[in-house]
Amino acid sequence: MTTKPLDPAAEHLLRELAPQVLGAVMRRFRDFAVAEDAVQEALIAAFMQWPQEGIPENPRGWLIQVASRRMTDHVRSDVARRHRETAVAMEVEAAAPALDLEPDMDLDDTLILLFMCCHPALTSPSAIALTLRAVGGLTTGEIANAFLVPESTMAQRISRAKQSIKTSGVPFRLPTPQERAERLPAVLHVLYLIFNEGYTSSVGPELQRLDLAREAIRLSRSVQKLIPDDAEVAGLLALMLLTDARRAARTGPDGELIPLTKQDRTLWDRTEISEGIALLTAALAKGSVGAYQLQAAVAAVHDEAPRAEDTDWPQILALYELLKRMSDNPMVTLNQAIAAAMVHGPSKGLELLRALDADNRLAGHYRLDAVRAHLLEMAGDHEAAITHYRIAAGRTTSIPERNYLMTQAARLGENTTGHRSDHSSC
């Protein structure tokens, strides 16, 4: 079947409506797993029909109609299968009040769904896939393509995730303030992972992949609208914007990584930077500083430097020291080591790295060797730097990263005059 593609505005509308429609269908039929499938079918129907027939006058109502029809079909066939026609049919009638069109419930629904999809019972990949489908309104095919797995594999992963949620017996309602406080970090982490996946893989053959970074920003924007008083939600959105702003400068024409110090800063997106900084400033003023806000602040310091050599490293170092006090995470120490080297010289940074050698969480992680190589190069020990660039190249699982690290080693091998530092924290 050949169809015109849906225009971007209509597609955006569909994605915004997806969780609202799912919420409405859920409240009528209560079964999350089946309702989610029905909404997916309604979205696909819209993708097929809207370009031909135009957007219906009440798109939300249209989608609810189609999804509800699918639900009814499903329940009917279920009934037939179970030979309990009368009893279940009555149950369906009772569970399906008149089409509800209370728009004020919609926004809450998006939040409820997001908390459901980022359920602690799920692994990150499952939570990500389910969030993109149920809250993001993406099709299974698009999600599968984004993660380079077959559609059937992604479909299985999603249906298993829904099964886990069902087994866990989470009710479909807004989490209490206490539950919300407990579970918000998991929700933000899933959004962060979606962003990270999209941002770091925007190279080469992946060019036609769905833009996960943009999708993460869109989802975070809606969460921020729904929970405007939470400083960390704003911090996460700011972090995404301030990082995404450098996207065009981050890779060369063939997808090769360009480190922060070598990026063409005129390519940075000023609109995203000012939006990110405004969000961050407002968030910090609330006085409950968190890890995302601090990360965003580091990104902002980089973004505000007209040239690499203008970077306010003492401020970045101070931010990482704060971050370290807040979370016991070896990745923070790695970044702190780079900042310390820029402020106090490489030996200070290498000293911080030595403390990480005993940390099991980083054992065999390429980033430790990559940073060590970089600091050794700064210290003028090129032979040791080459060794660690090569160890790091052998340990990373990303091709662009491996190419970058091998090239660093090769460059040092050829040219012992010693370049100014360029590090891959981009």
Partner: protein, 130 residues
């Protein structure tokens, strides 16, 4: 995290082709079942079986850039018989799948315990900064 699981066989000796029908069928059913399981668990990215090694050609470019093919291989060499690419949460899970494949039934239904080479596919996951 994606892993490739490579199943190697010797050119001679481990010839499935010479097994009794019952053993052959058990082996084939096992492999089909394993793929079904991996598909159902949402972990299978792809799985392919390769033709027998006697169909293999070794190709090199000659001075003119045209292919020069060679079809004679040393007897003792190991050949790739097939592979799976799986997308799993941990390396341990990839090893567990490899162990299952390794124990595929051979002659008399006894597990073959063949070596399966497991290696990460260069596809992320991206480094996390938090």
């Amino acid at each position: 995290m994606k892993y490739i699981l490579m199943m190697n066989t010797m050119r001679a000796g481990q010839g499935v082709i010479e097994w009794p029908k019952k053993d052959l069928q058990a082996h084939i059913a096992f492999m089909i079942g394993l793929n079904k399981e991996l598909r159902a668990s949402g972990e299978l990215v792809s799985a392919e079986g390769l033709s027998f090694p006697d169909q293999a050609k070794l190709v090199r470019a000659g001075k003119d850039g045209l292919p020069i093919t060679d079809g004679v291989f040393p007897e003792g060499k190991e050949f790739l018989a097939g592979y799976w690419i799986v997308d799993v949460d941990t390396p341990e899970r990839a090893y567990a799948i490899a162990a299952r494949a390794s124990a595929a039934p051979g002659p008399g239904g006894a597990p073959l315990n063949m070596p399966i080479e497991v290696r990460p596919v260069m596809s992320g996951p991206p480094p996390e900064t938090l």
